[in-house]
Amino acid sequence: MQSSGVGNCINMLSLTKTCRFPLLMLVTMRGEWAEFNPWQVPMGSRTQAALELCDVLVYRVERPEEAAETVTAAFDIVYNGDLAAAVLLAQRLIGAKRWAK
């Protein structure tokens, strides 16, 4: 999902916490790097804090060569420990969205 969607998940994270379900979230970030749309900034700048407030482990990927290793590590910790984790794929990694040609 996108970082804005994390805001819509807050109460659903009660499921992973209360029932101890494993959960791995892959989140593409908006609102943090060369963002054109200011509406993305409030949630994008609080995505990590909101997840951590809900006891979700958070890992960030800034460079392409880190992605596979980080996602694998997150997958392992989630399914070995019935935990919730999110890998945030930085907006700088994805590249700025092109709004007009």
Binding site: N11, L15, C19
Partner: protein, 183 residues
């Protein structure tokens, strides 16, 4: 609820936050019941996940109109996936029973069956009597596509029967019951 769970066999049941959870407990606790005590709006999507993960088993979601209204978008997702082993039943009393019996949108203009059909459900039931309920209950075990039923119920408040509320217990015993918990 009792009619839907008659001769349930190994039917997997997911109930939504509120009265449908108490109703399922009133019929009788079962390891194959996954009761939601929270996560309002999640019942149908949990059923979808279960149905996809366990294609050889039948999955029934029973939730209330308020809980379904909170996760209406899930009907669109379910209709696109349409696993043949899933049935979603909404007990519709037109009220938010858990928060003080405020009127829900189904008491006004919202028609859940029409929404389900518009999303792409091929088999829908608007259950208003015992005969219709028995027809739907039978189809849960034999359907070839995802079912959606709106079941009209009275807006009363019978004494509550509460199931276990330890989420880890509910999760673990459910997984053991279907043979996927090995630890």
């Amino acid at each position: 609820m009792r009619t839907l769970l008659e001769n349930r066999g190994d039917l997997l049941l997911v109930t939504g936050l509120g009265s449908t959870t108490w109703d399922a407990a009133a019929v009788g606790d079962n390891d194959r019941n996954f009761y939601l005590w929270g996560a309002m709006g999640a019942a149908a999507m949990i059923g979808l996940g279960l149905a996809i993960a366990q294609p050889e088993r039948r999955v029934l979601v029973v939730t209330g109109d308020g809980e379904m209204l909170m996760g209406l978008g899930s009907l669109a997702t379910i209709a696109v996936q349409r696993p043949p082993n899933l049935a979603v039943a909404v007990f519709d009393n037109g009220h938010y029973g858990e928060t003080g019996m405020q009127a829900s949108h189904t008491a006004a203009t919202v028609e859940l069956v029409a929404i389900a059909r518009a999303c792409g459900f091929k088999e829908t039931f608007d259950v208003v009597d015992e005969l219709g309920l028995r027809d739907f209950a039978d189809q849960i075990h034999h359907a070839a596509t995802t079912l959606f039923a709106r079941v009209a119920i009275r807006a009363d408040e019978p004494p509550r029967v509460l199931p276990p509320r330890d989420g880890v217990l509910l999760n673990t015993r459910f997984r053991r019951a279907i043979g996927v918990e090995h630890s």
